[in-house]
């Protein structure tokens, strides 16, 4: 196998660890792992790639020279948003609606809550805004929804606002006016004025306008897309460029790819980087879709626990849930996104006890990989969940990252005792550490329940997939009592998102807002006109798609095109995405075929009674998806062997703290566990990149695809 040529390198940089998965021409893969280096992600990228190449037994240069795709995703930008550590931004919007940044439609005060909390109004609260009210400036001017200017733009007010924001040294100036997606001329004018001032003042401040970032109706969502693009993606693009540079220096011949929120690969030069902001977690869902075909259960819940965040997603009956208007970090966006819920919870989170109130809290800060938890012994003295795991014996101090990082458990114990147990006046330090872990597990478990409940889904028909570097470590805790049909984790859990990304195809999605009403009994000539308009728009979009795909190294004959339309019955507010059954519409009859397709999809989704056949239909957006298929990894199937693991897998016993007592716990090497093996807890299965904790009484079984099934004690 080692002679096979690697063709795809998928790299997923989490808040703590960067994972590389190398896929060869036969679809088999190897995994490398290194600490994420947030200051310069290319360092972690390269180290992780080197490790993966090492496992394959080839030099890094040979690997990069060989691969055709380098695919980089991560949660860096999302973490910036969640931890509110982004850039200092200013906003120019229509005078009179500046408070939109505080009001958040009202909806943002409860939008991602569970069924219970949505009703329990005392729990509602607004998320802190990304731009301060003081840095939000209104300027006079208004367009209406037909794109007509109702009030001209007051240019002197724009000048004043820009100068004030520059005086405050904002890093980005955002411009968002009502209905700029219909007529952007006010935004263009304001941008021109701002650019002139920037030049005059020799300011490096960046400018962003909403019609460029997200030209889609619903101003609150468009504004949020703009603000997030400004706030969280600035550093992200620099990082991606530096990664491409490192890859090329090491022999890579093409452009680095990243993943868009709807699941397609794209170049890192993608103009609106916030569309790739949640690409890492999405990789997990794509991977889960691939796994679902193997395990023959097309209803899955995915859970990804890393160092800083816990991400969850759902696949129901094979369909990946897409949010057209998702909430990201409690902000509403109008961005088609593979639906994921995220909370700030991870193994790198700080655990704290307030000396005054004795209130215990988890996060929201996290130690990251630098300096990392206390036990990494790199200078951090604030305890983390990872330190608690080390103190309780759940982590092997000599085998973290395969022994690359030696854990200083004594130091972790000493600092944890001093800052947590002693403050709480509890003598048994281990009980406090276990309590902290239980808090994290319960927070993640509640988040899972909340997501299921908000979607109206019952867990008994769903398989939970657990992955992420810390997924297997906490899986037993956070999945307990929810009642999933099955629970699965993987030997390569730590690189599952990267694995999932490599199952994606190259894709570009081009679309344009339109408003074409097609009356029920429209005259033939009018319909002919509509046919011409549709074909002309698709033609334009196809040329753009072709051009970009070819510029990224694909040949025209490889590219498949799928035209689509967002359609609704005229007057409705929600669209149905219709993949056109034909590439071009050549007659009114063919137009009717497309309309019929819409009606059928609409009926299927919404039931037949909802078909208001007497109403005309409207096309609100037209688009073209261009795809090129890419080689994918393959899981290896083996025969099931005996239930007892091989002797060589056994690593001895260690005292591990479970349920307030020390238990003699068996240790196993994950890579030596074979299909058919069963291990009963208390046990710990170790892997250089992850640790699977099996709680007392629980069991783990490896199936023929080398997936690990976790079974809770009845």
């Amino acid at each position: 196998m080692k002679t096979a040529r690697p063709v795809v390198a998928g790299i997923d940089a989490g808040g703590t660890m960067t994972d590389t998965i190398l896929v060869d021409e036969f679809g088999t893969f190897t995994i490398g792992k290194a600490a994420t280096t947030p200051q310069l992600e290319s360092i972690g990228f390269l180290e992780s790639a080197i490790e993966a190449s090492d496992y394959r037994g080839i030099a890094i240069e040979d690997m990069f020279a060989s691969v055709e795709v380098v695919l980089y995703t991560g949660t860096g930008m999302l973490n910036v948003l969640l931890s509110r550590s982004g850039r200092n931004i200013g906003l120019i919007t229509n005078k009179g609606i500046e408070d939109m940044v505080l009001m958040g439609r009202g909806l943002q005060s409860w939008g991602d809550y569970s069924y219970a909390d949505r009703l329990h109004a005392v729990t509602h609260h607004h998320p802190p805004p990304l731009v301060t009210r003081r840095n939000t400036h209104g300027v006079t001017g208004r367009m209406d929804h037909m794109g007509d200017e109702i009030i001209p733009l007051y240019e002197h007010e724009v000048e004043q606002a820009v100068n004030t924001l520059l005086d405050k040294e904002v890093e980005v100036i955002c411009i968002c006016f009502l209905f700029s997606q219909v007529n952007p001329s006010h935004e263009i004018l304001a941008e021109g004025i701002a650019r002139t001032i920037l030049t005059r003042r020799e300011a490096k401040t960046e400018l962003l306008s909403s019609h460029q970032v997200r030209p889609v109706i619903r101003e609150q969502s468009r504004l949020n897309s703009l603000l997030i693009e400004a706030y969280a993606t600035g550093g992200g693009r620099k990082q991606l460029k530096s990664i491409e540079k490192v890859a090329r220096e090491n022999g890579y011949r093409y452009g680095v790819q990243t993943l868009q929120s709807f699941g397609g690969l794209t170049s890192i030069n993608h103009p609106n980087l916030h569309e790739t902001m949640v690409s890492g977690p999405i990789g997990g869902v794509l991977g889960a879709r691939y796994i679902s075909q193997i395990i023959e259960n097309d209803s899955l819940v995915v859970s990804d626990l890393g160092g800083t965040s816990f991400d969850m997603g759902i696949i129901s009956k094979g369909q990946i849930r897409i949010d057209q208007e998702p909430l990201i970090g409690r902000f509403k966006l109008n961005l088609p996104l593979i639906a994921m819920d995220t909370i700030g919870a991870g193994a790198g989170m700080h655990v704290k006890v307030d000396p005054l109130t004795k209130k215990v809290s988890l996060g929201p800060e996290s130690a990251g990989s630098e300096p990392g938890p206390i036990c990494f012994d790199k200078g951090n003295l604030v305890p983390t969940i990872c330190d608690c795991n080390a103190i309780l014996g759940r982590l092997n101090p000599d085998y973290f990252l395969g022994g690359k990082v030696k854990l200083n458990v004594d130091l972790a114990y000493e600092k944890f005792k001093e800052t947590c147990a002693d403050v709480l006046e509890v003598d048994n330090v281990y009980d406090v550490a276990e309590g902290m872990i239980n808090m994290l597990d319960s927070e993640a478990g509640v988040a899972l329940r909340r997501m299921l409940s908000a979607q109206g889904i019952h867990p008994s028909e769903y398989t939970l997939l657990s992955y992420g570097g810390s997924g297997p470590l906490h899986l037993g805790g956070y999945s307990r009592g929810i009642g999933f049909k099955d629970i699965i984790t993987f030997q390569f859990a730590a690189a599952f998102s990267a694995f999932g990304c490599t199952t994606a195809d190259f894709q570009k999605r081009f679309s344009r807002s339109v408003h074409l009403d097609i009356p029920l009994e429209a005259p033939f000539m009018e319909l002919q006109e509509t046919v011409l308009t549709i074909n002309s728009i698709w033609g334009d979009l196809k040329s753009r798609a072709l051009e970009q795909m070819v510029s990224e190294g694909h040949t025209a004959d490889q590219i498949g095109f799928q035209p689509f339309l967002l359609m609704r019955y005229t007057g409705q507010l929600e669209d149905v995405e219709v993949y056109s059954p034909i590439d071009t519409i050549n007659s009114v009859n063919e137009l009717n075929r497309v309309i019929e397709t819409f009606r059928n999809i609409y009926k299927n989704i919404n039931r037949s009674v909802s078909d208001y056949g007497q109403t005309s239909v409207s096309v609100m957006e037209m688009g073209m998806i261009a795809s090129v298929e890419k080689i994918k990894p393959r899981l290896k199937k083996s025969k099931l062997g005996k239930s007892k693991p091989e002797e060589r897998a056994y690593k001895g016993l260690r005292e591990v703290y479970f349920n307030s007592k020390w238990e003699k716990t068996q240790l196993w090497e994950m890579d030596e566990i074979l299909p058919g093996n069963e291990i009963r807890g208390p046990a710990i299965i170790e892997h250089p990149a992850t640790t699977l904790v099996i709680h007392p009484g629980d069991e783990v079984f490896m199936n023929e695809w080398s997936m690990l099934h976790y079974r809770h004690q009845e």
Partner: protein
């Protein structure tokens, strides 16, 4: 046509039996033990969760189909599954108000012999928006479909949407001008609107010809029916899994479990005893066009509430002493009163899952006949009943909160909901066609404060905890008005240690229309219809509307002169910035149509405060001023804050030393101004005895004493008045409304 159907034979008898069993055993349908739950508690929970999940996803289906911003944009709907007798087993999120109102609708059909005529058959669809049958107001249109398993009726699925246009005397849904039923719009009175899973064409035609914007209503109708079919499928799937007998048994146990949970929650969270509260609502219509000479032009309602929390946890709320119903649109039927109670309880104690009609069974409303809470004439209008419901249930929330406080659940204390006025409009749209719409941005008012934090700003209404004002860009698609501003209304929450949530104000200029009729409702501009708690102030009363007709906004814009985008802190911006016909209108805005270039403002309401304003953390006040939630002068006058620096150059800060001194002085002044209660009482007693009140106050007491002997007796006893004391009618009611 009379149909007979063996599948529903005996339904009415079954309903009566169920009611007898409840009365005899105190338990729903006579279920004294929860056998299914005791046998397998996890399975019990799992099955209920599945039913509830069915309701939640049905609601999402409906939201996709709807054409109305009310449903799609701000979620004004709810879906639920019922027993054959019409008791709710499981419900979705959304406007929880309607869980028991739909129950009343189903029971009404059963009690009125629908099993015989018009018949209840598989595939039938029934609709209703008659509040005396079971809804709150005409725009709340509900659809239910029977669920049959083989040849047996095993339940109902129901959904309700709030319509934005109801075809009443004025455009919109909440027709404020209606003074009798006959002006409220299109009534569907427990009507069979569909057969064989299909909505009847003649019904659709009727809607098309009687509504200003039929697409909202008709697509919502389809949305609700699709939601009902989806829930019907879920129930039948579940029956396939667990068997029909088990389903019938467990579904009833859910309701009994819900009843017990409600009682347990009350026992856990409150202290038993009698709680009393009172709130008021005033309405000003004198001289406004369109009002018929039937009712009082300006009136004031007292809304007294007595809540008894029994030892077993049962809550009994008594409205004895409420005013008689009147010729206005704010009356409420018992169905609406149920709705208000239900939605309030779900927010405070039934939010965790087993929410169903069991909660309703664990409570009791005493609604004296002839009052606005239970009118004895079914001709009366209920189109804007929320005007009185919201203040009433706000007072109920404060009574509950006193219970939470007494029990130590500080974090549950919530000053609660307020009345917040609504705007509706119609006329000629920007597309040159007739239109009508209720603007539902009112679904995001301010909430009352909590005992541990400020109230929610622009994000709460009592009738739907999933508050949402919607996007400007969506609303503007459906109305010929362009926003000049939508901004936080500073100081609109009541002051306190924790302030009430602030509301917002919208300012529009009419665009591309020669005729827009703007109607607003639910105004209480002269009395507080909300209150604070524990020293917190009430939120201000409703703002007046400010209008500029024939404004010179276009000329000013051409000359790049500043424009007003709200009324400004001193309420004078429109006058200062624009020339034209300036109008300040108190109470509901019912005037001549407006046209392109005219400017209109409308404000929503904030919530009451909690705790002494002098105890508010000065840092929070500074933050409020910076964010625009509060004004500096408010901080100085109400909270005793002294500042240094200036807002203009961003140097404003608190002068802590001076603030401390000022607050000390203010406290001492309060003490100096205080009088013993008995001294105050004696002085007030003289006024009460002489009837030395504003005319509306005198009318209010007189009407309540005439209608309620008990109120009269208590009033006389409290004020130490002689037996038989009354306020005689002094003047003849002027039938010309002058």
């Amino acid at each position: 046509m009379t149909e007979t159907n063996s599948m529903t034979a005996g339904l009415r008898k079954r309903l009566e039996e169920s009611e007898v069993l409840l009365a005899e055993t105190g338990c729903y349908d006579g279920i004294t033990t929860l056998e299914c739950r005791d046998m397998d508690p996890l399975k019990f929970e799992t099955i209920h969760m599945k039913l509830r999940a069915g309701c939640v996803s049905a609601r999402e289906i409906a939201r996709r189909i709807s054409a109305s911003p009310g449903v799609r944009e701000v979620g004004e709907m709810v879906a639920a599954i019922y027993t054959p007798e019409g008791d709710a087993i499981a419900i979705s999120n959304g406007i929880m108000v309607h869980v028991h109102t739909m129950s009343r609708f189903i029971k009404w059909m059963i009690k009125n012999g629908y099993e015989h005529d018009p018949g209840i058959n598989p595939g039938d669809i029934f609709a209703n928006n008659d509040a005396f049958i079971g809804t709150v107001q005409v725009p709340d249109v509900m659809d239910v479909v029977p669920i049959f398993h083989e040849d047996e009726l095993v339940g109902w699925a129901g959904a309700v949407c709030h319509e934005l246009e109801a075809g009443g005397i004025t455009p919109g849904g909440d027709v404020a001008l209606a003074q009798e039923r006959f002006g409220e719009g299109l009534f569907i009175c427990a009507e069979k609107i569909g057969l064989n899973d299909k909505i009847r064409r003649d019904y659709v035609i009727r809607c098309e010809r009687n509504l200003r914007m039929p697409i909202y209503w008709i697509l919502d109708e389809q949305a609700k029916v699709a939601a009902c079919f989806s829930m019907r499928d879920r129930v039948l799937e579940l029956i396939e899994d667990v068997g029909v007998d088990f389903y019938k048994k467990i579904s009833k146990e859910f309701i009994e479990e819900g009843r017990r949970t409600q009682l347990a929650r009350v026992r856990q969270l409150t202290v038993p005893g009698t709680y009393r509260s009172n709130t008021f609502y005033g309405h000003v219509t004198k001289g406004k066009p369109g009002f018929q000479p039937l009712g009082d032009p300006d009136w004031l309602y007292s809304i007294p509430l007595k809540m008894d929390i029994k030892l077993d946890g049962k809550i009994v709320v008594d409205f004895e002493g409420a005013q008689p119903w009147g010729y206005h649109s704010m009356n409420c039927t018992p169905a609406g009163m149920d709705g208000g109670m239900f939605v309030t309880l779900t927010q405070h104690m039934n939010f965790e899952g087993l929410v169903n009609d069991g909660a309703w069974l664990a409570t009791q409303l005493k609604l004296p006949r002839g009052t606005w809470t239970n009118p004895d004439s079914e001709f009366c209008a209920t189109a804007t009943s929320w005007a009185l419901l919201l203040p009433a249930y706000g007072a109920f929330q404060r009574m509950l909160s006193r219970g939470f406080l007494a029990r130590g659940f500080l974090e549950e204390v919530f000053v609660g909901q307020v009345n917040s006025p609504m705007i509706e409009m119609g006329g000629i749209s920007q597309y040159g066609k007739p239109f009508g719409i209720a603007h539902f941005e009112c679904a995001a008012a301010g909430s009352g404060a909590l005992a541990i934090k400020d109230g929610l700003d622009t994000a709460y209404v009592g009738w739907n905890p999933e508050s949402d004002m919607g996007n400007i860009e969506i609303w503007e698609l459906d109305m010929p008005m362009v926003y000049l501003g939508r901004s936080i209304l500073p100081n609109s929450g009541g002051a306190g240690k924790y302030r009430g949530g602030n509301a917002f104000m919208s300012t529009w200029v009419i665009n591309k229309s020669p005729e827009v009729r703007i109607v607003t409702s639910e105004h209480s501009s002269r009395v507080f219809d909300n209150a604070g708690m524990c020293g917190g102030y009430p939120a201000p009363t409703c703002q007046k509307h400010r209008v500029v007709r024939n404004s010179n906004i276009n000329q000013r814009a051409e000359q790049r002169k500043p424009l007003a985008h709200s009324t400004g802190l001193d309420q004078k911006d429109l006058e200062q910035f624009y020339q034209g016909n300036q109008q300040i209108i108190e109470g509901p805005h019912i005037t001549a149509p407006m046209k392109e270039g005219d400017i209109f403002t409308h404000s929503y309401n904030g919530g009451g405060g909690y705790g002494d304003p002098l105890e508010r953390d000065p840092v929070l006040i500074l933050d409020d001023i910076i964010q625009g939630h509060s004004s500096q002068i408010h901080g100085e006058r109400v909270h005793g804050i002294r500042f240094k620096g200036s807002m203009d150059d961003e140097t404003l800060e608190i002068d802590f030393l001076q603030t401390q001194k000022t607050r000390k002085r203010l406290r001492s002044e309060r003490l100096q101004g205080a009088v013993p209660v008995m001294k105050w009482f004696e002085a007030e007693k003289i006024k009460v005895k002489q009837g030395d009140f504003a005319p509306e106050v005198l009318k209010m007491y007189r009407a309540a004493m005439d209608l309620s002997e008990e109120f009269g007796r208590e009033f006389r006893a409290f004020w130490q008045l002689e037996n038989g004391f009354a306020y005689p009618e002094k003047e003849q009611k002027d039938i010309n409304n002058e």
